[in-house]
């Protein structure tokens, strides 16, 4: 591992990016959470606002942007879903869910007022404790914006602590945008730059068309002082990381959130292994310099 002069030093994970799980530390018994609101994002993606039923637990629950919960549908199973709300209001938990399997399909049938199980929060989040004085570029693809949304909330609340903030987001069509209204609102009114691109300009879309990394042509990054956070499909992670490295952003300042099969959430079941890392406890957010040796290798 190399240590260049401009790298951010310090331990890979801190208590700021990794609060301990409130549930799941010692049990496979999930805690009950009540669905308080459901928002339709697109055809197969909904955002579920939840609160832990037990008030004492709800008051204790803390999490950091980038962490995830194992959401549980009794009798069906669990799915790892990142938390996408504001970490400053930890009693109100948003999970943006796309239907891809049995568990997410069951969650899709859950109505407001009904309960689901939860274990978490698990994993290491984004390096929000290392952003002071930095420019921040967030790159999200599709539902990959979900784990980045808490970072946006944090940046908005701590706007004076960081330099320039850019959010680059890409999805298939304008109708597929997740958090579409918020994105528009931020673009219009927030002190951050938000750029959205789509693969297919359906409807009255007049914005950029093409893959999200094409948006890089529209901005200039100050490589030395920029921290990049990427979350999207595998191909986006790969291309985005590569492009930023070509722009001379140091590997120690590029962060990627990875997706893997997860069963336990705490590094015991083995499913999420990625090289020697357990994505559930060493990630899902990784600093690029820690995974450069295996990044982009198929079937690792």
């Amino acid at each position: 591992m190399t240590t260049g002069t401009n790298e951010i030093s310090g331990p890979a994970t801190s208590s700021i990016t990794r609060p301990e799980p409130i549930c799941g530390m010692d049990t496979w018994m999930p805690v009950a959470t009540r669905v308080t609101a459901i928002k339709r994002e697109n055809l197969n993606t909904h955002t579920y606002r939840m609160e832990i039923v037990d008030e004492a637990l709800r008051a204790q629950y803390r999490w950091a942007p980038g962490q995830f919960n194992m959401l549980y549908a009794p009798g069906v199973g669990e799915a790892a879903i990142s938390i996408s709300s504001d970490a400053d209001t930890p009693d109100m938990l948003d999970h943006t869910i796309r239907v891809v399997g049995s568990v997410t399909r069951t969650i899709f049938r859950t109505q407001v007022g009904e309960i689901l199980g939860l274990r978490g929060p698990f994993g290491v989040g984004w390096p929000i404790d290392r952003l002071d004085g930095r420019d921040v570029v967030l790159v999200g693809g599709g539902i990959g914006i979900a784990p980045l949304r808490p970072v946006i909330y944090w940046l908005l609340a701590n706007r004076d602590r960081v330099g320039r903030v850019v959010v680059l987001y890409g999805c298939r069509t304008p109708e597929d945008r997740v958090y579409a209204e918020e994105l528009e609102n931020w673009a219009e009114h927030a002190p951050i730059d938000v750029l959205v691109t789509v693969d297919n300009a359906t409807g009255g879309w007049t914005g950029p068309v093409g893959v999200v990394t094409k948006l890089l042509q529209r901005i200039r990054v100050n490589a030395e002082r920029t921290v990049v956070m990427v979350c999207g499909p595998r191909i986006l992670n790969r291309v985005a990381a590569s492009e930023f490295l070509q722009l001379h952003v140091p590997p120690s300042q590029v962060y990627v959130s990875l997706e893997r099969n997860m069963n336990c959430g705490f590094g015991r079941c083995g499913h999420c292994q990625y090289g020697h890392w357990f994505v559930c406890k060493d990630g899902p957010v990784f600093c690029f310099k820690d995974i450069a040796d295996i990044f982009a290798i198929e079937e690792i």
């Binding site: 549908a73 009798g75 069906v76 399997g101 049995s102 069951t106 049938r109």
Partner: protein, 274 residues
């Protein structure tokens, strides 16, 4: 998801279950009837609307869940399956016959008229297709449950899953995982048996290895089976002939790929040797 007849008013109706028989031995239907501990719960959870082997009463379609046993082997069957498909919201092919053509699919490699002449005194009365085929060869199915016969617990899991509206948990990996989880001795390694467990889909609970017998593949090929490698071991280390290997492949699921392809390959090798 099966919602029963929740759109109607009045007390919620139980989802209707239909069980059909095609060319088969009835063993899979018996697996359902053999669920003695769970049968009462089952009839509470579903209404048995059509199950000629179990009850005379027949309720009219549509049905929520249809289970089809047996292969399509006659012109009548080839017709009938299309109506069944229209009658059932969720159609499941159960057992080796319904999912691969079954044992009777062995005739797919032979001349069926020759068989009828050999077996029947008046073969002219026999109306049969040249091939025995799985249900999915004639109509689309929502799920296939393997096995000869199907495993009763898997059948129950299937019904539970359909009632809950989730995917059935049916493993696609090898029999070996079930065998080793049970702590059974490996008949291939410790006894030199030509066990098909390493290329066969789990689900039986390693029934045959549990009786100190080699697996003969009645649950069909597992996900991504490496039959070629296992066959090489059987022929080189166990000195099995291509004919033996062909027969191993061509049994209960002989017409199901990739068992079919490998069986055909061994046949070619066998013929090349003659």
């Amino acid at each position: 998801m099966v919602s029963g007849a929740s759109e109607q008013s009045g007390p919620p109706a139980r989802p209707k279950l239909a069980v059909y028989k095609f060319s088969s031995c009835d063993g899979c239907q018996l697996s359902l009837l053999n669920l003695e501990d769970e049968l009462l719960d089952l009839v509470e959870a579903v209404e048995i609307a059509y199950f000629l082997e179990a009850r005379r009463r027949v309720l009219p379609p549509p049905y929520d869940i249809g289970l089809v046993e047996g292969s399509i082997s006659t012109p009548e069957e080839a017709e009938r399956i299309h109506q069944i498909r229209r009658d059932c919201k969720f159609l499941v092919a159960i057992g080796a016959c319904a999912t691969s053509g079954g044992l009777q699919a062995l005739r797919n490699w032979a001349d069926v008229r020759e068989f009828t002449r050999a077996v029947y005194a008046n073969p002219e009365y026999i109306r049969t297709l040249d091939t025995a085929s799985p249900i999915a060869a004639y109509t689309f199915v929502d799920f296939e449950l393997r096995g000869c016969p199907v495993n009763a617990q898997q059948l129950l899991e299937l019904l539970t899953a359909v009632l809950m509206g989730r995917e059935p948990k049916v493993p696609r990996h090898s029999v070996c995982l079930e065998c080793k989880r049970r702590g059974l001795p490996c008949v291939l390694v410790s006894n030199g048996e030509p066990c098909l467990g390493p290329v066969t889909q789990a689900g039986c609970g390693a029934l045959c290895p549990g009786c100190n017998r080699a697996c003969y593949g009645c649950f069909g090929p597992m996900e991504q089976p490496n039959i070629r490698s296992l066959g090489r071991w059987f022929s080189e280390r166990q000195e099995r002939s291509p004919r033996t290997l062909k027969r191993l492949m061509r049994s209960y699921n002989g017409y199901l790929e990739p068992f079919k392809q490998e069986g055909d390959r061994y046949e070619q090798i066998e013929q090349g040797q003659e």
